[in-house]
C-alpha cells in the first residue's frame, strides 16, 4: 500500500489525483437515488482511471472485500429503518467511494499526499505529526508483534482474563517505548538542525 507504485499513474501530479478523487467522491455522494444510471457513468470513470493507470483490478477488489464488513453493517442499519435511504443505493455509493480512495492510495505515495497538504497550507505541526506517524507506524507495529511473541513464548495462557492482562501490558509497554523513542527522535532531530 505504501511502497512506491510502479504504475504510470504514480507519475501524475498528486494534487490533480487528490482533487479528482475528492470530486469523484462528491459526485457519487450527490448522485440522486432515483437516477442510478449516473452510478454507471461514475463507475466507467473509475474503470478508465484503472486502465490508464494500469492498476490491478484484483488488488482493488481484494481491498474492497476486506473492507466490505464496514459497509455491510451500516447498510444493514439503513435497511432496518423504514424512512431511510434504500440500502442497495447506499451500498453501491459507498462501494464506489471506497474504490476511488483505494485507487488513490494505490497510485499516490504518502510523501506525495503530504506534499499536497503542504501546498494546501495545512499547518506545519500537523504535517510533521503525520510524517512522523507514517515513519514510525510500521516500526511500532513490528515492535508490538515482537512483544506479543515474546510474551507468548514466556507465559502460559490461562484463559481470557489473563489474555486481557497480557494484551493490556503490551499496549502499555508500547506507549512507554513510544515516548522513550520520541525523546531520542527529538535529540536526533535537533542534531540535524530541526527548528519548530
Amino acid at each position: 500500500m505504501t511502497k512506491p507504485a510502479k504504475n504510470p499513474a504514480a507519475r501524475w501530479p498528486a494534487a490533480v489525483k487528490v482533487a479528482g478523487a475528492i470530486g469523484l467522491v462528491l459526485a457519487i455522494t450527490l448522485t440522486p437515488a432515483p437516477r442510478p444510471a449516473w452510478f454507471g457513468v461514475e463507475a466507467a470513470v473509475l474503470c478508465l482511471v484503472l486502465i490508464a493507470g494500469r492498476v490491478s483490478p484484483v488488488v482493488v477488489l481484494r481491498r474492497l472485500a476486506w473492507l466490505s464488513p464496514f459497509v455491510a453493517g451500516a447498510a444493514l442499519a439503513a435497511a432496518w429503518s423504514p424512512h431511510g435511504t434504500d440500502w442497495r443505493i447506499l451500498a453501491l455509493r459507498s462501494g464506489l467511494c471506497l474504490a476511488t480512495v483505494i485507487i488513490l492510495a494505490r497510485t499516490t505515495t504518502f510523501g506525495d499526499l503530504l506534499g499536497v497538504l503542504r501546498q494546501a497550507r495545512v499547518p506545519a505541526l500537523l504535517i510533521t505529526t503525520l510524517a512522523l506517524m507514517h515513519r514510525y507506524l510500521f516500526v511500532l507495529r513490528d515492535e508490538s508483534g515482537r512483544m506479543g511473541r515474546a510474551r507468548s513464548a514466556r507465559t502460559f495462557t490461562r484463559g481470557r482474563r489473563f489474555a486481557w492482562l497480557a494484551a493490556a501490558s503490551v499496549v502499555g509497554q508500547l506507549f512507554v517505548r513510544a515516548s522513550a523513542r520520541a525523546e531520542r527522535i527529538y535529540d536526533a532531530m535537533c542534531a540535524r538542525g530541526w527548528t519548530s
Partner: protein
C-alpha cells in the same frame, strides 16, 4: 465507528467538516503555543502508538474480539489539545492509506472521535479523578471516561446519520448507543488495564507536564473547544430531541411510533430508553442515561479496587 462515504449527505458532510477543521485548527494553535518543543515528536509517536494499539486484539466471548478506541486514554495521557491532534492524525492516515472511513466523511469522523470522544473523555477523567484521588481513583476515572466518551461519540454519530436521512433517528440512536454502551464497557476496561500497566513501569508519564504553561489559558482553550463540540452535538441531536418550538409533542409522537415500528435490536433493560411511569419521553431518556452512568461509575470503582490492590500510594517500583 468510522463512517464510510455515501452515508452522509452534502449538508452534514459540510457542517461536520467545518466543525472538525475549526476544532483541529484551534487544537493545533493551542498545542503549538503550550507544548514544549521537546514533546513535538511525541505527537507523531503517540499517533503511531494509537494506530498500533487499535490492532491489538482483546478476546471477547464467542470467538469475537474487541480493541481499544483510545480517545479518552490518549486525552488522559497527553491532554485534550494534543489528543485531538493525535486522533485526527490517526483518522487521516486511516482514511488515505487504508480507506478506513470515508473521504467526505473524514470531517464527521474527526468530529466524533477526535473532538467529542477526546474532550468528553478528558473532562470526565479530570472530574472523576478529582472526586477519587490516588492510583485507584485514576483507574476508576479512566474506566468511566472511556465508557462515557465511547457512548457520546456514538450518539453524535447516530445524530449525523439521522440528520443525513440515511438511518431514522429512532433506529440509529438505540442501535448506536445500545451497542456502544456494551463496547464502552470493554473500552473502559482496556483503558484502565493499559493505564495500570503504564503506572507500573513509568508512573511519571501519567503526570501531565505542568512545566511551562499558564493554567488559566489552558482552561480557556479547553472551555472553547468543549463549547464547539457541544454546539456541534446539539446541531445533530437537537432536531430530534429538541424541547423547544413545539418539539416535545413531535418527539412523543416520534418515540411512540418508534415503539411499534422498530423491533428492539438489543434486549435492553429499559427498551427504547423509556422507563415506565415517567411522563415525558425526553425526561425518561435522560433518566435512563443518568441511571446507566451511575451503574457504570459504580462498576468503574469496583474494577479499580480489583485492579489496584495496594493502598493508594502511586510509587511502585518498575520490574
Amino acid at each position: 465507528m468510522h463512517i464510510p462515504d455515501g452515508f452522509l449527505d452534502a449538508k452534514t458532510a459540510l457542517v461536520t467538516t467545518g466543525l472538525a477543521v475549526t476544532g483541529l485548527g484551534f487544537a493545533l494553535r493551542q498545542v503549538r503555543r503550550e507544548l514544549p518543543p521537546r514533546r513535538v515528536p511525541l505527537l507523531g509517536l503517540s499517533a503511531a502508538f494509537l494506530f498500533v494499539a487499535q490492532m491489538v486484539n482483546f478476546p471477547v466471548a464467542g470467538g469475537t474480539s474487541g480493541h481499544l478506541l483510545g480517545g479518552a486514554l490518549v486525552a488522559a495521557l497527553l491532554g485534550p489539545a494534543a489528543a485531538i491532534v493525535v486522533v485526527a492524525t490517526v483518522l487521516i492516515v486511516q482514511c488515505f492509506l487504508f480507506a478506513d472511513g470515508g473521504l467526505l466523511a473524514l470531517g464527521a469522523n474527526v468530529f466524533n472521535m477526535g473532538l467529542v470522544a477526546t474532550l468528553s473523555g478528558y473532562a470526565i477523567y479530570r472530574l472523576a479523578f478529582r472526586l477519587l484521588p490516588g492510583t485507584r481513583g485514576r483507574v476508576a476515572a479512566i474506566a468511566f471516561a472511556g465508557w462515557c466518551s465511547t457512548v457520546l461519540a456514538a450518539i453524535s454519530c447516530a445524530g449525523q446519520l439521522a440528520w443525513s436521512g440515511t438511518v431514522a433517528w429512532h433506529v440509529a440512536l438505540p442501535a448506536m448507543a445500545g451497542v456502544h454502551m456494551l463496547i464502552g464497557l470493554g473500552e473502559g476496561a482496556i483503558s484502565a488495564l493499559v493505564l495500570v500497566a503504564i503506572a507500573r513501569t513509568r508512573p511519571d508519564l501519567l503526570e501531565p507536564a505542568p512545566a511551562d504553561q499558564p493554567p488559566p489559558d489552558r482552561l480557556r482553550g479547553f472551555v472553547l473547544l468543549g463549547l464547539l463540540a457541544s454546539v456541534g452535538v446539539a446541531v445533530f441531536v437537537a432536531p430530534f430531541a429538541c424541547p423547544w418550538p413545539d418539539g416535545l409533542d413531535a418527539v412523543a409522537a416520534h418515540l411512540g411510533f418508534a415503539g411499534q415500528a422498530a423491533a428492539p435490536i438489543l434486549p435492553a433493560p429499559a427498551p427504547d430508553y423509556q422507563m415506565p411511569g415517567l411522563g415525558s419521553p425526553l425526561f425518561a431518556t435522560a433518566a435512563v442515561g443518568v441511571g446507566g452512568m451511575l451503574v457504570v461509575f459504580a462498576l468503574a470503582i469496583l474494577f479499580s479496587r480489583l485492579l489496584v490492590r495496594e493502598p493508594p500510594t502511586p510509587k511502585s517500583p518498575g520490574p
